[in-house]
């Protein structure tokens, strides 16, 4: 499995795609931190809640972690490398697990880099506005740990989705349609059902405070269940399907 993981990690870092996604993550993190930091009133930004949002700007990494997961498998189909890949590792379930591990590693890397930047940017914002740091170590753990955990789950969701759908464009459109249309509708209309969808569960995990959201721990469990279900379904189909 170590061999397979080093193979998959090399694949993820040997094209410019994931570097581009990482740079986009960092740019958006910075943008969110600065906009939030300088548009929020000084009195609000002195409060714990607003500072959690400020230092949680790295949360944008979760969406990019999902893309890393989607691309880890769908780019193999798109460019035909799935054929040589399977000739070298014909045990398909193993291959999916190797890709999952590599996608999780990259998801964690994205989240850590984004949170590190968010904390630097947040500190600069607070200093320039003459405000003090209001978070205790527990808050820091919830903010940074929540982002890393969410990115791990979303990388897994992306990989499971990509394995199921195979098409790169189809997976990405599906992901966005689900996140920004289906889930919002369901959560808006039937919040007691919709809160079990990955997006709201992810908000709950990161300490979101909406009345209908689950508790953070429950959110983590729900996300883990989504990852397990999608990866298992994807791997089961992958094992049965012919490779074009």
């Amino acid at each position: 499995m170590t061999n397979l993981l080093s193979s998959e990690l090399l694949k993820l870092r040997s094209t410019r795609t994931n570097l581009g996604l990482l740079l986009a993550t960092l740019a958006l993190t910075l943008l969110v931190a600065l906009v939030h930091g300088y548009s929020t009133s000084k009195s609000s930004l002195a409060q714990v809640d607003e500072q959690r949002t400020l230092f949680g700007a790295g949360q944008v990494s979760t969406l990019f972690a999902a893309l890393v997961g989607v691309l880890a498998i769908t780019s193999e189909y798109r460019h035909g490398t799935i054929r040589p890949t399977l000739l070298f590792e014909p045990r398909r379930t193993r291959l999916v697990l190797g890709k999952l591990a590599a996608a999780l590693a990259f998801g964690a890397l994205f989240a850590l880099a984004a949170e590190a930047l968010a904390f630097v940017a947040g500190a600069v914002v607070l200093a320039t506005r003459g405000l003090g740091f209001a978070l205790d170590s527990g808050d820091v753990l919830v903010v940074a740990g929540g982002t890393v955990a969410a990115a791990l789950f979303w990388a897994g969701i992306g990989l499971g989705l990509g394995t199921l759908v195979r098409s790169q464009v189809g997976s990405i459109i599906g992901l966005f349609a689900w996140l920004f249309v289906v889930e919002s509708l369901v959560f808006g209309l039937w919040p007691r059902v919709g809160r079990y969808a990955p997006g709201p569960a992810s908000q709950a995990l990161s300490g979101g405070t909406g009345a209908d959201l689950l508790r953070p721990g429950a959110g983590a469990l729900v996300l883990a269940a989504w990852v397990a279900a999608l990866v298992a379904a994807g791997a089961a189909l992958f094992a049965r399907r012919d490779i074009p």
Partner: protein
């Protein structure tokens, strides 16, 4: 080297809906041989190779390599090298990284990638992204990937596509050398002439079914267009050659002789003191008969 067949297909069939892409195909390949897998585009060659390599599941029948189904071999990439498409690369990945990614998966060190790049004469392009490669370079990169595990069996699908004549010659020389070391090659092509001088055996399929399975010598004999002879004493030679089973057509100084080998024609001429200006196999034969055997069905 074992006496067991290296590749076995038994009643191998693949249907896509009502289309019988591969229809009850059976054959065996022996170690140390080069076998050409011929047929027009769409004949079912690639589908057959995909089933041999575990990428597609047979509808019925079995496909075994080295005695087992591909996916059941322990580390198959260390025993079987294969290339299915010349385009199976991420365009933004460097050639060397493509090979390393595959090498790592089977525990081979990074330097193995450089060794096979050297073998296919791509060392200088190793650090370039594949999108800058010509089709011929991509073919060689694919071959390099197949060679990573130092395999004893090579399965190549249309490896000569996109190669210039020099590249084709290089490839065929390479395959000959590979087989001469006791290894086995199974190479598909839709152009017989491309591989005719290199292979030991030919399997010709059309519409998923076996049309011809023979040694190249048998095939050549079977489809021989006769011997072409030019002589200023053509009429005299024609009379001397006349015998049961020998057919001679004369057109001025040129004879086309069927039913007698070139050796006998030469000996007869020498015995009669007849001067020869030419003694050669009549041309056009292989490709014509290939088309005839495959029913001239053309691409589907």
């Amino acid at each position: 080297m074992t006496s067991e067949p290296v590749v076995v297909a038994e009643g191998l069939s693949k249907r896509f809906g009502s289309l019988r892409a591969v229809d009850d195909l059976s054959f065996r390949l022996d170690a140390g041989t080069i076998t050409a897998f011929l047929g027009p585009n769409g004949a079912g060659k690639t589908t057959t190779l995909r089933m041999l390599l575990g990428l597609a599941r047979p509808t019925s029948g079995r496909a075994l390599v080295l005695g087992r189904r591909y996916a059941e071999l322990a580390e198959p990439a260390l025993r079987v090298g294969a290339v299915l498409e010349a385009t199976d690369f991420h365009p933004g990945r460097k050639g060397r990284d493509h090979l390393r990614g595959l090498a790592y998966a089977v525990g081979l060190p990074a330097r193995r990638a450089d060794e096979v790049l050297e073998l296919v004469d791509l060392s200088r392009a190793a650090g370039r992204r594949v999108k800058t490669y010509s089709l011929g370079m991509r073919q060689r990169l694919g071959l390099a990937a197949a060679l990573l595990g130092d395999p004893e069996l090579l399965i190549l699908d249309e490896p000569a596509n996109g190669l210039d004549p020099e590249g084709v010659r290089w490839l065929l020389d390479f395959l000959r050398g590979f087989a001469a070391r006791g290894n086995t090659v199974f190479v598909s092509s839709h152009v017989l002439a491309e591989v005719a001088q290199t292979v030991d055996r030919v399997l010709i399929i059309d519409r998923g079914r076996m049309v011809v399975e023979s040694s190249l010598a048998e095939l050549t004999a079977r489809i021989s267009g006769g011997v072409r002879v030019r002589s200023p004493q053509a009429e005299q030679l024609a009379a001397r050659l006349a015998a049961p089973g020998v057919e001679v057509d004369r057109d001025g100084a040129t004879l086309i002789v069927r039913g007698a080998p070139a050796e006998r024609i030469g000996e007869t001429a020498a015995a009669a003191g007849v001067v020869l200006h030419e003694l050669s196999p009549a041309a056009g034969s292989l490709e014509d008969v290939f088309l005839e055997l495959t029913g001239g069905s053309g691409p589907r």
